[in-house]
Every structure is written in C-alpha cells, then in structure tokens.
C-alpha cells in the first residue's frame, strides 16, 4: 500500500503520520507537498493535523483551495481511503467531503490530553480491527474541535451509522452528540479530531491508534487481492 501524507504550510503532525505508516505498518509512504496536483499511484491519502495557513479565516478554509485538493477530492470519489485527522478533519469539512463544521471548543481552551474514545462503528475499513463499542485511548490536541451540524445532518449521520467515534465520558469540546469522528456515505473518507498517529506505538503511551492504520492496510490487501483473483 502506497500512502501519501499531504503537507501544508503549518502542518505539524505529518511526521507522526509518516512514522505510523512507515514504522507502524512497514509500508511505503511519501510526503506530498500541497502545491502538487496529482495523487496518481497512491492507494491511501492522509491529511495530517496542524495549523495549515495559520488557521487564518477559519481552520482548513484556505487549505481547502490548495493545489493538491482537487486530487484529494478525486481520490475520495474514486473510493480510495482518505483519512483527515484534526486539522485534516477540518479541511475535509471545508472541502465538503464530510458534512458539518467546527466551532471553537465550548470552554475556549486548547485541549491537549489523552481521552477515551468509543468505537461506535467497527464495520468500516478504518475500524475493522476494533471491537464494536470498544473504548480506546487516543490523544486530542485542538482548540476548534467542537463539531457542529444541523438536526437533519445529525439524524442522517445517526441513522446511517456514520458516527464512527464518540468521546466516552466527559465531552472535552462540546461537540454535537459527543462526535469525535465521522465517515462519508461511501465509507472511504474518515475525519476525526483525535490523533491515532500519536498513539501508534506503546512507547508513546498508547498503541490503540495503530489498529486504525492496520485496518486500512488489511482492507487494501483484501480489495487488491479480490481484484487480482476475480
């Protein structure tokens, strides 16, 4: 599996993401600069956390129009796995690949801590290796992770099992329905505020995030194997 980690000016979790793929999965991975225009040849796309363009205007608003974004949208439409973490999630929202928007955290604080997440849907290509409703430990680090959507969108997300992760216990940021991560209708674009790449090695305090990357790899292997044998 060949993975692209998109790098914007102000990305700061790109190296963690790279490390999770390279050392965590032992798979091929490249940094792809935001000014590039093609993602041909990549099997998975990761949009890392950070503060792209200094979070000017709104988090993710300017990154959404970067040169690479048409290629990200194309990859998403083609069904390739696209994972947006933290600022990456914000960019996916701004790009319209996922519904909703981010508000400032309810208590206005930037929160940097490891939280309990509940896996609300383990039947996705990102979460197959988790148990349904399993509680995992993953760090968060954001000032604008207060997920907002209207009632209609929330109902749609709930009815179609598109809420993949929720905060378990105390909701740190005030997000609607305790949402920490959601997936698109087709099931190949996941946005989440918590950082699985920061929990991809026991040395980092938790390796609960590694199974997310392993799930993507397994799914990719199964789908390419199916393609070869069919």
């Amino acid at each position: 599996m060949k993975t692209a980690v998109i790098v914007f000016p102000g990305s700061n979790c790109d190296q963690d993401m790279y490390y999770a793929i390279k050392d965590g999965l032992d798979e091929e991975v490249d940094y792809v600069w935001h000014a590039e225009t093609s993602l041909d040849g990549y099997d998975a796309i990761m949009i890392p956390g950070g503060f792209s363009y200094g979070d000017y205007l709104r988090s993710g608003a300017i990154a959404r129009f970067a040169g690479i974004m048409p290629a990200v949208i194309k990859a998403a439409k083609e069904g390739k796995p696209v994972l947006g973490v933290c600022n990456g999630f914000q960019i996916l929202l701004e790009a319209g690949l996922l519904p909703g928007a981010m508000l400032k955290n309810k208590h206005l604080k930037f929160i940097c801590e490891t939280v309990n997440l509940q896996v609300k849907n383990n039947d996705t290509q990102f979460t197959k290796l988790y148990n349904q409703d399993e509680v995992i430990r993953i760090p968060i680090a954001h000032g604008e992770g207060n997920y907002f959507c209207d009632d209609e969108t929330l109902k749609e997300l709930q009815e179609n099992n598109r809420i993949v992760f929720t905060y378990s216990g105390e909701n740190p940021n005030g997000s609607r329905a305790d949402i920490a991560g959601i997936i698109n209708e087709a099931g190949n674009v996941l946005g989440m505020m918590p950082h699985p790449e920061r929990a991809a090695d026991a040395l980092l305090g938790s390796d609960d995030g590694l199974r997310l990357f392993q799930s993507i790899l397994n799914h990719w292997r199964e789908s390419t194997h199916a393609a070869y044998t069919s």
Binding site: L57, R58, A61, I62, F65, L93, E94, P99, G100, A101, L103, K104, N105, K106, H107, L108, N146, F148, C149, D150, G174
Partner: protein
C-alpha cells in the same frame, strides 16, 4: 474601484462561546444591560468596477469568506473615494 464591506456572523442556531465569555466579562464589569454578545468578522475587499460585483462577492463569500454551515454574511458595496 469599489469598497466592499463584508460582515460575517454566526447563525442564530449556533452557540458562540467567545461571545458568551465576553458577555460574562461585561457582566463582571457591571454592564448588566448587556443581554447577549455575538462575535463575527468584518472583511474589506477592494474590487475593480464591474457590473456583477454583487454576484462576485456572493460567490467569494459562499466559497471562502463564510462557512454557510455555521455563518451568515451580508455586505455593502461603496464607491471608493480617492483623495
């Protein structure tokens, strides 16, 4: 040239934690008359004259300046006076 003044505000249905914090502070300062505070953004654009300035500004706001999931916008177009 036209000067376009764009005002971006959070939709009524969206809570504004920043506004709430400022209101709390005003109350602590004894400005009890303040019943609500909503914080928005003000953006000025200088634009070339053209027949479809309003149309262009609508598109610019929808695409980039405002996130219409959570924000509303309105704007005023003024003749730029050169001194």
């Amino acid at each position: 040239m036209k000067k376009v003044k764009v005002f971006i505000t959070l939709k009524e249905s969206v809570l504004d934690p920043q506004g709430q914090a400022v209101m709390q502070s005003l109350h602590n300062m004894d400005y009890k008359a303040v019943k609500d505070v909503r914080i928005g953004k003000y953006i000025e654009l200088q634009m070339e004259d053209s027949a479809d300035v309003a149309e262009q500004v609508d598109t610019i706001c929808d695409q980039l300046l405002a996130n219409t999931v959570i924000e509303n916008y309105r704007y005023e177009v003024e003749e730029e006076v050169h001194s």
